[in-house]
Amino acid sequence: MIAYPLPPARPVESRSPADPMPAPSPTTPQRTTLYDVHVALGARMVEFGGWEMPVQYGPILDEVRTVRNSAGLFDLSHMGRVLVQGRDAVRLVDLVATNHCARIPVGAIRYALFCSHDGNPIDDVLLYREPENVFIVVNAGNRAADVKWLREHAAGLDCHVLDQSDELAMLALQGQRSQQILQPLVQGCDLSTIKYYRFGFGEVCGMPRTRISRTGYTGEDGFEIYFPVQHAARVWNEILRAGRPSGLAPIGLGARDTLRLEAGMPLYGHEIDAQHNPIEAGLGFGISFAPEKGDWIGRAALERVQAAPRRRLIGITTAGPRAPRQGYELYAGAARVGYVVSGSVSPTVATNIGSAYVSIGYDRAGTALELDINGKRQPCVVQELPFYSRTRK
C-alpha cells in the first residue's frame, strides 16, 4: 500500500472521461525536513499528494534495480502517522477499518482500509497493534480526511486521535541488504527477531525507543523507522553512509511506484479510490467479515460486492513499445472490457506492465486483449498479480 507515484508531466488521466483523481491542490506544497538534503543530492522534486518530494535522484530504472539488487533509502516523511490512544482505541479502529484489529497480535501489523458506507475506500492504511493503542500509517494525500473520519467516529468512545505526522520523520530502508546495513546502527534490538509485518523498538543512531517495523512497499525485505523529526537529516546521512559500501542509494518516488506495481501493491488513486472497492481490487486479505468484529463502516456494502463482483483487478503485460497508463481502455475485439489504472516500464519483469480492471469473464490469465492508446491498438495479455515476488524470509 501507500506510496507515491509521481504525477506525469501532464497527467495522462486527464484523457479519461472516468478520471477518478482529485484535482491537484492549488495551495503551496509542503516540504519534509529533508527537502534541502534531497536537493543537495541532485533530486528532481515534484509535487505529490500536496508535498514536494524527490521523484528521482538518477535514472528511475537504475533506482528500481538498486532496490532489487542491494538496498535503497526512501524519505516517507510526507506520509501520515496517527496514534489512537486509550481504552477504546481498538474498538474505534474496528469500527472504521476493514481488518479485525482486536485479533491482531500485539507487536504485529496488518493492512486495512477505511471505507465509506458505500464500501469504497477513503484510504488504505497499516495498523500497528500495541497493548492498548493503535499506531496507523496513512497516505499523505488522505491524512486530513482520515484524521477527521477517525475523530468523528471517536465521539462517545474513550480514546483520543493524535496526529503525530508533523513530529515524526519516516524513512524506509528497502532491499535484501537492509538488515545488514541497519543492524550496526541499532542498539538493544536484534533485527532478525522482527519478523515480516512485525515491529519493535530499539535505539537507532542514538535515538532511544525508536519504532522499527519490517514493512515496505517494494516487494523486498526491509524496514520502516519512525523518529522525532529534528533528527531526520542526521539519521538519513548516517544510514546512507553506513550503507554506501553495500550499494545503498537514495531512491525517489518514481522507482517506488514501479517497485510497488511489480509487487502487486495497490496505490490509492489508482487501484483503489472512491469508485474502486477493495474486494474487486483483490484486497480481501485486509477485510474481515468475522462475526466477532461486529458491524463496521462499509461492511454491508462490501458483503454485497463480495457476493456479486462485476470486475476484477488483474495484471497486464505488453510486448509493444508503449507502457500501459492510467485511463487507457482495454478491448476484446470491438468490445470495451476494461481500463488501466497503473502502468510502468518494468526492469524486473523486462517488459511493460500495468494493472487494470476488466469485466468478469475477461480476467483469466492468458486472455489476449488490446490496449487502446489514443486510437492505436497494442496487444497485451492478462496475468495474475503480482508480477514479482521474492522468497520471503
Binding site: 507515484p5 509521481l6 506525469p8 508531466a9 501532464r10 495522462v12 528532481r44 521523484v55 528521482q56 538518477g58 535514472p59 528511475i60 530504472l61 537504475d62 518514481g254 511506484d257 514501479t258 513499445p321 508503449r322 507502457a323 497508463r325 510502468s344 516500464v345 489514443n374
Partner: protein, 134 residues
C-alpha cells in the same frame, strides 16, 4: 540563451524556417521535464507519417518517459514531409542535442511567416521557462 534562429511554443516545441521548409522539435526544457537529464528514462516517441496535414496546436505525436507521457503539438500549419526516424530508436539524441540532431518533423508550411502564429522568440521563451520553475 537558447538559439534565436527559431521560435518557441508555450508547450515547449521549437520551429525554424529553413528555405522552403519548416523544421520542428522539442526544447531542452521539455526533455528535462520528461527525464531530468537521465536519457535512459525516455522510452518511446511516436511521430507522424509523411503526408499528414497538421494545424497549429494540433497533437501530432507523443513522447513517453518511464513516468510520463507528453503530447507533441504542431507549432504551425502544414504538411509533414519527413519524420526523424532515428529518434524512435535513439531517444538519447533528444537529451544530447534537442536543437539539431534531435529535430522531429520537417514540414511544408502553409506560410513561412511565423509572425502569423502566437510564438515566442528566444529571450521571451527563456523568461517563460524561468517563470515555470517557480
Amino acid at each position: 540563451m537558447r538559439p534565436n534562429d527559431r521560435r518557441y511554443t508555450k508547450t515547449h516545441e521549437w520551429v525554424k524556417i529553413d528555405g522552403e521548409i519548416a523544421i520542428f522539435g522539442i526544447t531542452d526544457f521539455a526533455v528535462n521535464a520528461l527525464c531530468s537529464g537521465n536519457e535512459g528514462d525516455l522510452v518511446y516517441c511516436d511521430l507522424p507519417e509523411p503526408g499528414r496535414l497538421v494545424n497549429a496546436g494540433e497533437t501530432f505525436g507523443e513522447i513517453e518517459s518511464v513516468k510520463a507521457v507528453e503530447d507533441l503539438n504542431s507549432p504551425i500549419d502544414g504538411e509533414v514531409i519527413e519524420s526523424n526516424t532515428v529518434i524512435e530508436e535513439h531517444l538519447e539524441v533528444l537529451s544530447k542535442d534537442p536543437w539539431n540532431a534531435g529535430w522531429m518533423i520537417k514540414l511544408k508550411p502553409r506560410t513561412k511567416n511565423l509572425a502569423e502564429y502566437e510564438l515566442m522568440d528566444a529571450p521571451s521563451y527563456d523568461a517563460y521557462c524561468a517563470a515555470q520553475k517557480h
